[in-house]
């Protein structure tokens, strides 16, 4: 059974310097509050895995938490570049960042293989592409029946996976709905899992017989953080703050404006600020 704790306790107990960390959420349910907490606790030398680094890793990379990034698409969706990611890759600021680059298909299959307890993922991919020339992790096997050459990547096996979900009950069973992304696979592939939720309820309530639920015994720690996905969104709770995604571009473009923003909004604040963000977005949506 997971311990229901504060976000600070969950991060302190489960995220260690040098860990391989996956923080997933495919546009929906990105665990931004947990990312801020990891920054506040000054974790470093992390290997960060995520299909789309998004603002959450742009911030963690810019604050020096990461030594390596494993990813498949590193942009600000619909807006442009992730300036902190580019600064780290192109100029080594605040420190050099090693990158391991894949395609979405490879990343999704690598999480699936991790959840399935397999050492590698097998899929039809990378045909004619240059990525295998620069990423030695991409290999292949030959189908014993057809002779077809199929691509392989190592399964993802994070030390800890961090996700944000809609609800957990008091036992720690977690409900995810809407765009579910790769979160279930990322949690099942990991040694430890932290889940932040919009609310902790007595009972998950009426739901589909086939609802996407992570049983309590697959989760290490659950923390209630209303608004914890902001500026991403939580289906049925608040909308994505697309305006903030656009606003991030000028903030992150220069090191100074970035550092100032992080001090004012992360280092000098706590998880409680997310509730306010969420309420504002929800109100705006109504």
């Amino acid at each position: 059974m997971p311990r229901i704790v504060s976000l600070a306790e969950a991060v302190k107990a489960n995220v260690r310097d040098g860990d391989t960390v996956a923080m997933e959420g495919f546009t929906h349910l990105i665990p931004h509050a947990a990312g801020h907490e990891i920054i506040r606790q000054g974790r470093k030398d992390l290997t960060l895995i995520r299909m789309t680094p998004d603002l959450i890793y742009d911030q963690m990379i810019g604050m020096g938490c990461a030594k390596k990034l494993v990813f498949s698409w590193g942009g600000n969706p619909g807006v442009g570049s992730l300036h902190r990611l580019r600064d780290a890759v192109e100029k080594g600021w605040p420190k050099p960042l090693e990158i391991e680059e894949h395609s979405h298909a490879a990343m999704a299959n690598a999480y699936e293989a991790g959840a399935a307890g397999l050492p590698c993922a097998v899929f039809r991919g990378y045909i004619g592409a240059d990525l295998p020339k620069v990423n030695p992790k991409i290999k292949s096997i030959t189908c014993p029946y057809t002779g077809e050459k199929l691509a392989t990547v190592p399964a993802h096996r994070p030390d800890v996976t961090v996700i944000h979900a809609l609800k957990a009950d008091r036992e720690g069973n977690v409900l995810i709905e809407g765009i579910v992304g790769v979160q279930k696979e990322a949690v099942l592939a990991a040694k430890r899992a932290i889940v932040t939720v919009e609310e902790i309820v007595d009972d998950l309530g009426p739901r589909s017989l086939n609802a996407v639920v992570l049983p309590a015994w697959t989760v290490t720690a659950v923390a209630e953080v209303p608004g914890g996905a902001y500026p991403s969104y939580a289906q049925g709770y608040y909308k994505r703050d697309n305006a903030f995604y656009k606003a991030w571009d000028p903030i992150a473009r220069e090191r100074e404006t970035f550092l100032a923003w992080m001090k004012a909004n992360v280092l000098d604040k706590g998880p409680e600020v997310f509730a306010a963000h969420a309420q504002r977005t929800r109100a705006a949506a109504e």
Binding site: G78, A105, A108, F123, L131
Partner: protein, 257 residues
């Protein structure tokens, strides 16, 4: 003086190439505008799929991100991302995939990874995302890109997604059974692959555009088809629906805080 922009012409030309029975794998930006325009005009039953897992979605506004809630709210159902890539894309369920990129070459190979060397990039681009497998798994590929010498290049710095490779039967030699890029729709014209060489050649020129303009904005010596058509100008209906869609979208996404 035309009463529409070249971007509108590009989007509308792309929309027209979609069929009512297509199952379309949509990216954000121009592909999203084009495929939803098709759905709102001549292809009401087209199936739109976004890689975030939304099957048969019918957004009333264009998503800023591939996973906006609007896509899920209006979908037939939403599946996990591993399922999307395994059952739906790799499973061969998609008839048309849209791609774009920072650089394209004359065989419609695309680069969205780096400008300059991979290890010491001059510009680090976002990367491939779904593109490498979209390019090979979909029945055919439509590419939408505004033309310029900087983006239409003689040689790519990096092949992010495979088009017709070195041309000819290169796809067949790699065991690919899908068609690859069958249309490259720009703000100036439409390219289609030469049946033999698979070089992308100009088959239709947008109204008011000259061959010289196209040549000036292409980094390789452009070939024109024997019979080049003129792209029909956008009609009032197409423009009205596209502009309404863009206005709804702008309202929904709001201004930067």
């Amino acid at each position: 003086m035309a009463d529409y922009t070249s971007t509108e012409m590009m989007t509308i030309a792309a929309a027209r190439s979609l069929r009512n029975d297509d199952v379309c794998f949509v990216g954000i930006g121009a592909p999203s505008a084009a495929s939803n325009l098709a759905r709102l005009t001549h292809a009401p039953e087209i199936t739109l799929i976004y890689e975030s897992g939304t099957l048969a979605t019918k957004p009333s506004v264009l998503p800023l991100s591939i996973g906006d809630g609007e896509l899920c709210d209006t979908a037939l159902t939403t599946v996990s991302v591993p399922e999307m890539f395994r059952y739906w894309l790799q499973g061969g369920r998609i008839t048309v995939g849209f791609l774009g990129g920072a650089q394209i070459d004359k065989h419609a190979n695309l680069n969205t990874t780096v400008v300059g060397p991979y290890d010491k990039p001059k510009v680090r681009l976002p990367g491939g995302g779904g593109a490498p497998e979209i390019a090979t798994s979909c029945g055919e590929i439509f590419i939408i890109m505004a033309q310029s010498k900087r983006s239409f290049v003689d040689k790519l710095d990096f092949i992010t997604s495979f088009g017709h490779g070195e041309g000819g039967d290169h796809r067949e030699r790699l065991g690919l059974k899908t068609k690859g890029p069958t249309k490259l729709i720009t703000d100036l014209c439409i390219f289609e692959p030469d049946p033999k060489t698979r070089e992308m050649i100009v088959t239709s020129i947008h109204p008011g555009v000259t061959r010289e303009q196209i040549a000036e904005n292409t980094g390789w010596p452009v070939t024109f088809a024997a019979a080049v058509k003129e792209t029909p100008a956008p009609n009032a209906q197409e423009l009205k629906i596209l502009r309404e869609l863009n206005e709804r979208t702008a309202r929904a996404h709001g201004k930067a805080a």
